[in-house]
């Protein structure tokens, strides 16, 4: 018991020694793996659109269920490069809000478009999402850790959408998925109205 208490004290001491000062936009927390991971999670418009990608993929079924989440990060990286290099894109915030509207509506209306069209649409919006993330990259970020965290968070958001979208195999589940698509589309309208 004494050993356990000593170990717990050790853990507390080590955790205290390891803790970083809370600084805004600087340091390893904002620039490292955690910074990259949380970057997409702090934007509700990004979250809505990425969940919608997963939902739509699940709704369309194979191969869209895995093809859309593969296309998105690849094209998003291209958009990220444009943002990092400072190449301007028009109306990025409106396009991101538009992605939530369009993809949400696609789910809500149960649109079964051809795969090439779905992939192209998702890829088109991915460029704007990537651009926004690339342009907002904090200075002094650890490139590798930030990039990995950022891409993994995006993938996990898709996974959340896919997991929920898999409910569409049951009639009540399909209704729930379509309802969530509707909520995302409405949220997209709010994002659009509030876009700078």
């Amino acid at each position: 018991m004494a050993l356990r208490t000593a170990a717990l004290v050790c853990i507390l001491v080590l955790a205290s020694l390891a803790s970083e000062p809370a600084l805004a936009h600087t340091g390893s927390i904002s620039g490292g793996l955690l910074g990259g991971f949380t970057h997409p999670l702090f934007g509700p418009d990004h979250i809505a659109a990425m969940v919608a990608v997963g939902l739509w993929g699940a709704f369309l079924g194979p191969p869209a269920i895995w093809l859309l989440p593969i296309v998105f990060p690849l094209v998003m990286a291209v958009g990220g490069v444009l943002g990092i290099l400072g190449v301007p894109l028009p109306d990025v915030e409106r396009a991101i809000a538009g992605s939530a509207i369009v993809l949400g509506l696609a789910v809500a209306l149960a649109q079964r478009t051809p795969l090439w069209f779905a992939a192209s649409l998702v890829g088109f919006f991915a460029i704007f999402h990537g651009h926004a993330h690339g342009a907002e990259l904090p200075a002094g970020s650890d490139a590798v850790a930030f990039s990995v965290g950022f891409v993994v968070a995006t993938g996990l958001l898709h996974l959340c959408g896919i997991a929920f979208g898999l409910l569409a195999r049951w009639p009540w589940g399909a209704l729930a998925v379509r309802a969530l698509g509707g909520v995302i589309a409405v949220a997209g309208v709010v994002f659009l109205l509030n876009a700078p």
Partner: protein, 195 residues
Amino acid sequence: MTRVRLALVVVFGLIAEPASAHDIVPGVGGFAGGVLHALLVPTHVMALLGLGLLAGRLSNGRLIAEVAFAAALMGGLGAIALGTGETPAPLVLPGVSALCGALVAGALPVPSPLVWLMAIVTGVAVGLDSPPDAISIREAYLMMAGVWVGAVLMLLVIVEGATRLTRPWLLIGLRVLGSWIAASAILVLALTLSR
């Protein structure tokens, strides 16, 4: 007691500093430091993962890819031992990772010679990007031997692991992982070039 040990391991994991080229694990040098260097430098891990997943998909010629990597890595380390200065290896590694990741994600048929070529490029780049941080010649050679053993073993494990993924959902997971590697590598490349 096991839980306490586990908690300690987690805490030590959380307080670990990010991997850097010359001081991968403070206090761990020599052969062990070299092995850890190969296993913990993020750009190296990304490149080995991409190459390993790609080589694991080859129906034949996997062994050639592995041997080519091992030989090229030895060449890269040899060049470092001969005093090669700064090289473009830090840019080549994410470039190769992006290509390998994209090919894994695309799941298109890849000619074996292309994979062998990428194994050679990756091996040389990993070697050139692993300069030993040692205070003696002997320790430097031990570190380089550790890098070689660690990187080759890691590649073998990834390749052999990838060949065992045969279920459809695992193959889909492999493609998703490939897209993540490619996307991360593209971003790393852009961030490195922009500075």
